[in-house]
């Protein structure tokens, strides 16, 4: 359950659906690139480079051409060598830029992590100890103004806590012992009251520590799909390596062995450098996009899994409906007037400050029913001598005992029936169909009855309605288009659940669900080969969160939930799952699109380089007809291809960091579009690009 006391996020500064989430400083500009140059240079270390085999081949090639340029210097040799080094550097630059964004965020987080002194509680006495010495299970005291020293659960007291250090959200939240709002995060500040916290995290392994490590990408590991794609890229590299190496004996047979420089240039142009250079940047940027939406993914694997989700479990309350039900209509029974029912319902709810209770007043006002009491209802009524009867789980009713002896109750049908019959009244059978009708529509019927000295009687029914959040239906439609099934999980009875499910537009629902039901549902889906995502925040959600392929824990939830999930949403917004899925898909699409683009580029490069290499040999002049781009000369043709190959990396850095534009659509439509843009585009673009570069390059003095 989301934290009902948390301030509404609707007007908050960072709505997840905002077009521009946490604004990132411009990172694509030349200045930003230049700023990352030092770390790009540091990455030239062969031990680092060998992790990306494609770029490692370019590095080795660059060293070879440097040697060859030293031995046989020429303008062509040096310019080409320079651009080969630039290719390596640009790849490192892409990664450095992607990491740079995370590092900036990590630095900001580190600044908030000040050295705190904890007030350790042992045997009733407080001892000040450094926060770093706290062990799991220790009890610490935090009072207004204290920084909570480490992650833990509140075991005593209630406090308002400023969590802006972690969430960026300035409005305070309530943390209290017991229940699902007991978790506190180290580094946040207590604003009021006093709490005792049981530490749940080892020093150095707190949420904030993990968060810093994550945004920094310190222990970034290759995700399954990255591994698969790397394997494919490596094998493409080997194929091209073989094609180029074996070309030498063929060329020798033809009568003109090729210089090492030219062979390296051909190799570098052919191997998938574009995707090889940008692959890790894409992954880092994907994580970063999540962080900017205030979601912390514990692993890249989870982000990737999000793109594969087949089934989405959504809690009804808080996710699909607004957290609280609202009075929708008044249904008087028999000869009772609507105004009479309204007046009784209002009196019964006068002390009820819950949104549900207040919504009855709101309904009366909109319907202009005369009985609407003046504002400040409770005090006024108290003055008139009323005693509020609070809701209890035992009676399942609440109400008001007025000074004149009149007693009013509202509650569930069965509870009110018992009360009426106990007070000598007859439960009007006409109420039953009204109650059923409300249930059938997905509402909650609240029966209102009164006893005024004489026998008690039923006045009517208040229809409390779950209010489905606006805009959800469109979102579910989008999910359906992506092939994702949505399942609503609720404790309501099946009839109510069905009505809400229909209204919200989810595909299925699980009614009267216990945590075990939820877990079973996830297992069932997974046995069918489906990947399941869910959100949760309570301790009893923990097993299901752990079982789900993508489990998003709400930051407002318990530490058990946060531990079990593989993502934490700092905004505690359950609908964010939809965006997480989209980011996961976008990540894979970007990889696929750039791989396709990279491979498609090779066609044009062949048409530039092969005629340049061989059309000069007697008997092979016909190959000059392959020079469809009309490149000026062999040297400028080869150099133009190399320059294009290097520049395209820089040109695509913004795309790699931002991700390919994602629109929810069926697979076939999306594929057609991406094939057209990146496949066909990848075929055509380099022809134009290389021809243009040749216009410039061929003017370099002394090149030929």
């Amino acid at each position: 359950m989301p934290d009902p006391t948390a301030p509404p996020r609707a007007g908050g500064p960072r709505r997840p659906s905002d077009a521009h989430p946490r604004p990132a400083p411009s990172l694509f500009g030349p200045r930003a690139l230049a700023a990352q140059l030092p770390s790009a240079l540091r990455k030239l270390d062969p031990r680092t480079m060998v992790r990306t085999p494609v770029m490692f081949v370019v590095l080795v090639g660059s060293v070879l051409t440097t040697v060859s340029a030293l031995l046989e210097p020429s303008v062509f040799a040096w310019v080409t060598t320079l651009w080969l080094w630039a290719t390596v550097l640009f790849a490192n630059l892409a990664e450095a830029v992607a990491e740079g964004r995370g590092r900036a965020q990590a630095d900001a987080l580190r600044r908030t992590r000040t050295e705190t002194t904890a007030r350790l509680l042992r045997g009733g006495t407080e001892t000040p100890v450094p926060a770093a010495r706290l062990a799991v299970g220790d009890l610490v005291v935090c009072e207004a103004g204290d920084v909570i020293p480490s992650d833990g659960d509140v075991v005593e007291g209630v406090a308002s806590v400023d969590e802006s250090a972690v969430t960026g959200e300035s409005a305070p939240v309530i943390r209290e012992s017991g229940g699902d709002r007991c978790a506190v995060t180290g580094g946040t500040r207590v604003l009021s009251d006093r709490i005792v916290v049981r530490i749940t995290a080892e020093p150095g392994a707190t949420f904030l520590d993990r968060m810093i490590a994550l945004v920094e990408g310190a222990d970034r590991q290759k995700t399954p799909n990255e591994i698969a794609l790397s394997a494919l890229l490596a094998s493409l590299t080997i194929i091209f390596l073989l094609a180029v190496v074996t070309l030498q004996p063929f060329a020798a047979y033809a009568g003109q062995p090729q210089p090492v420089l030219v062979l390296v240039a051909l190799l570098v142009c052919l191997i998938p450098t574009t995707i090889g250079a940008l692959l890790s940047a894409i992954g880092i940027a994907g994580m970063d996009r999540l962080v900017r939406r205030n979601v912390l993914a514990m692993s890249g694997r989870a982000v990737e899994a999000a793109g594969n989700i087949d089934t989405l479990l959504l809690d009804k309350t808080g996710t699909i409906t607004l957290g609280n039900r609202q009075a929708h209509e008044l249904l008087p029974v028999g000869s009772v007037a609507e105004a009479e029912l309204a007046s009784a319902a209002l009196l019964a709810s006068a002390a009820d400050e819950t949104p549900e209770g207040r919504s009855i007043g709101a309904l009366c006002r909109t319907r202009r029913l005369p009985a609407a009491p003046p504002s400040g209802g409770v005090a006024t009524l108290d003055g008139a001598g009323g005693t509020p009867v609070p809701f209890s789980a035992e009676t399942r009713m609440s109400g008001m005992d007025l000074a004149g002896g009149r007693r009013i109750r509202k509650g569930a049908g069965s509870a009110v029936r018992r009360w009426v019959e106990e007070n000598g009244g007859r439960y009007d059978p006409a109420v039953v169909p009204l109650v059923d009708a409300v249930s059938a529509q997905g509402g909650t019927p609240l029966v209102v009855a009164e006893a005024d000295g004489a026998a008690a009687r039923v006045l009517g029914v208040v229809h409390l309605k779950d209010v489905v959040k606006p805009g959800l239906r469109e979102r579910f439609d989008r999910l359906r288009a992506m092939g994702i099934r949505t399942v609503m999980v609720t404790g309501d009875n099946p009839r109510t659940a069905r009505a809400i499910a229909e209204e919200a537009g989810v595909d299925d629902f699980l009614a009267e669900a216990t945590p075990q039901d939820k877990l079973d549902l996830i297992r069932r889906e997974q046995e069918g080969g489906r990947l399941v995502a869910m959100t949760g925040d309570g301790t009893n959600d923990a097993p299901a969160l752990a079982q789900a392929d993508v489990g998003v824990a709400m930051n407002s939830g318990t530490s058990a939930a946060k531990e079990a999930g593989n993502m934490v949403d700092l905004d505690s917004d359950p609908t964010k799952l939809i965006e997480i899925v989209e980011i996961g898909k976008q990540l894979l699409i970007t990889r696929g699109a750039l791989t396709t683009f990279s491979v498609a580029n090779d066609v044009a490069k062949y048409f530039a380089i092969i005629p340049a290499m061989f059309s000069g040999i007697a008997g092979y002049e016909g190959l000059a007809r392959l020079n469809v781009m009309g490149l000026a000369g062999p040297e400028s043709a080869i150099l133009s291809a190399v320059v294009f190959n290097a520049l395209i990396i820089v040109a695509l850095i913004p795309l790699a960091l931002r991700g390919v534009a994602y629109r929810a659509a069926g697979a076939a439509r999306m594929l057609r579009r991406n094939l057209l843009v990146y496949g066909a585009g990848g075929l055509v673009a380099p022809f134009a690009g290389i021809a243009l570069i040749d216009l410039v390059v061929s003017r370099i003095p002394g090149l030929v």
Partner: protein, 558 residues
């Protein structure tokens, strides 16, 4: 009737007959591989071999069976050739030289049928019948069995078992190849193909001279030679020899036979998918469509190149007819050339060496595609399935999902196997051609110098590594180096992919498939066919462009 009209008629007839036969043959094959019942002769085979036909094998077990069986076959075939002079029906032939015997043994066991010898002057009747022809059956059966194991891997869920290799081999031989070949042999014999056990007989040639020609059980060999996409004929001239392929009618029949099983297997695939619920028949049709598009493009290219010849003057002088049989002409020669190189058969009814640069180059390109359009018996299906999974990988990423084919995820392990498969044969072709070109001894074996000479060497390795077996000619493939390396190319070109395919079958069978949703990449639609076609062409094109540029492209453009 003009040449073009006759040619078009022959092509349309072949397509129409294939279309008519594909469904019954494909469904029959599906029945053969899924039926739980064993026939009496099969049970006899199992009892003799001590095999429990109802016990299935893991992918590794299946592979061990394939490899052990093939090793035994190589040894037996080698022995048969070396000892043929001691055995009956030698027809006066001495023992085959060790180098040739090794190369031939490997060649026939790997379904390549690359021949470094003249059949009529080297192999006795017993070697032909009990050795080479038997291998024509068995090597084709191996390919089909492996393909079916991969299909089972795609269909099955959460199992280690991919079938029983002995059952698959026995059924393929007894229920499919033998009866089909028997029927085909009758048709061929009726069409005029020789079938006897006689030695040399005298024949009067067209120009009135007399020639001694050996007879033999030609029609029966011819049938399985084409049906099993083998290609090794009893005569050196192969299907250009009038005893093997006397008329336009037998020519059409032979083209039909070599396309029949590879094409029908796409239906088998679709039917097995549909029956198990893992997919639909459209999936098989999609594969066929991609095969058909590439095949059609190559056929059109070869035909255009040959019919146009080397310019008008040469055409008028009949230059493009060089190396072609007058009774077939350019169109039927082009049809046979495109079909034989597309199916890993390697039988020829004309000399590819004498084709125009682009015509011969396309035949070469056709083999370099990896023999998947429609490819060899079985090997075509498993080859195109691997490329389909590669296509799915790239396409799947582009729709934002971990790629899956028929619900099976193409993850790290799968893509590694696929990548190695895609890498294996091109690596063999490039490396061996590179070494051969670097060695001076190769130049001595080349009859032609210059660009054409290079194309001949490239063709030789493309043909052997892809288990096609057709020869460009002009190259003395019997030198020790060429004999050894072409043998290695055939061996690794056959069994490396098989190892990878069976490993892939095992990895896929273990998976629990994920259900099809709107977010799944459709793999039975025209869009996928287009992607698959593009992947086939681009992967091969990019790998071999430099080599082809120095061969047929340079020759054709100059």
């Amino acid at each position: 009737m003009s040449d073009s009209l006759a040619g078009l008629l022959q092509i349309s007839l072949a397509v129409a007959l294939l279309a008519a036969l594909r469904i019954p043959v494909g469904d029959y094959l599906a029945h053969v591989y899924t039926s739980p019942r064993h026939l009496a002769p099969e049970r006899l085979v199992y009892r003799l071999c001590g095999v429990d036909p109802d016990r299935e094998q893991t992918a590794a077990g299946y592979l061990r069976g394939v490899l052990a069986f093939s090793l035994l076959s190589v040894l037996a075939l080698y022995g048969l050739q070396r000892l043929q002079n001691w055995l009956p029906l030698a027809a006066g032939m001495g023992p085959v030289a060790p180098g040739t015997a090794w190369n031939t043994a490997v060649s026939f066991v790997t379904n390549t049928n690359w021949q470094t010898y003249s059949g009529e002057s080297t192999m006795g009747h017993l070697t032909q019948m009990a050795g080479l022809t038997v291998q024509n059956f068995l090597s084709a059966a191996i390919g089909m069995a492996v393909a079916i194991a991969l299909v089972r891997g795609l269909i099955r869920r959460r199992t280690e078992q991919v079938g029983n290799v002995w059952v698959d081999l026995t059924r393929t031989a007894l229920r499919v190849l033998l009866p089909f070949a028997f029927a085909a042999a009758l048709l061929l014999a009726a069409g005029g193909v020789v079938q006897n056990l006689s030695g040399l007989t005298a024949h009067t040639t067209l120009d009135g001279g007399s020639q001694l020609l050996p007879g033999g059980p030609i029609a029966s060999q011819e049938a399985i030679k084409e049906l099993g996409t083998n290609g090794g004929g009893p005569y050196n001239a192969n299907s250009a020899h009038p005893f093997e392929n006397p008329t336009a009618w037998t020519n059409l029949l032979e083209v039909l036979l070599l396309l029949l099983i590879p094409v029908s297997l796409t239906r088998t695939f679709g039917t097995m998918l549909a029956r198990s619920g893992a997919g639909t028949r459209r999936h098989g049709l999609a594969l066929l469509a991609a095969m058909g598009i590439v095949y059609g493009l190559v056929l059109a290219g070869v035909t255009a190149a040959e019919a146009a010849g080397r310019g008008t003057a040469a055409q008028a002088a009949g230059a493009a007819m060089e190396g072609k049989e007058v009774r077939f002409g350019e169109w039927a020669s082009a049809l046979f050339a495109a079909s034989t190189t597309a199916t890993s058969t390697g039988a020829v009814n004309s000399a590819h060496d004498s084709f125009t640069a682009f015509g011969g180059g396309l035949a070469l390109f056709n083999m370099l595609l990896g023999e998947i359009t429609p490819g060899g018996a079985g090997s075509g299906l498993y080859g195109i399935l691997v490329v389909a999974m590669l296509t799915v990988f790239l396409g799947g990423l582009m729709i934002g999902r971990t790629p899956e084919y028929l619900g099976k995820r193409i993850g790290g392990r799968e893509i590694k196997l696929i990548a190695l498969y895609i890498l294996a044969t091109p690596a063999l072709v490039l490396v061996l051609t590179g070494i051969a070109m670097a060695l001076p001894s190769t130049r001595d074996a080349m009859a032609n110098g210059g660009i054409h000479g290079f194309t001949e060497v490239l063709y030789a390795y493309a043909s052997t590594a892809n288990n096609n077996g057709s020869a460009f000619g002009g190259l003395n493939a019997g030198t020790p180096f060429l004999s050894l390396t072409t043998g290695l190319a055939m061996l690794f070109g056959r069994f490396l992919p098989i190892v990878l395919v069976l490993a892939l079958a095992g990895a896929l069978a273990r998976q629990q498939p994920s259900p099809v949703t709107a977010g799944t990449l459709p793999t039975d639609r025209p869009l996928f066919v287009g992607m698959l076609t593009a992947t086939i062409l681009i992967v091969t094109g990019l790998t071999f462009f430099p080599a082809l540029a120095l061969g047929p492209i340079a020759e054709g453009l100059s």
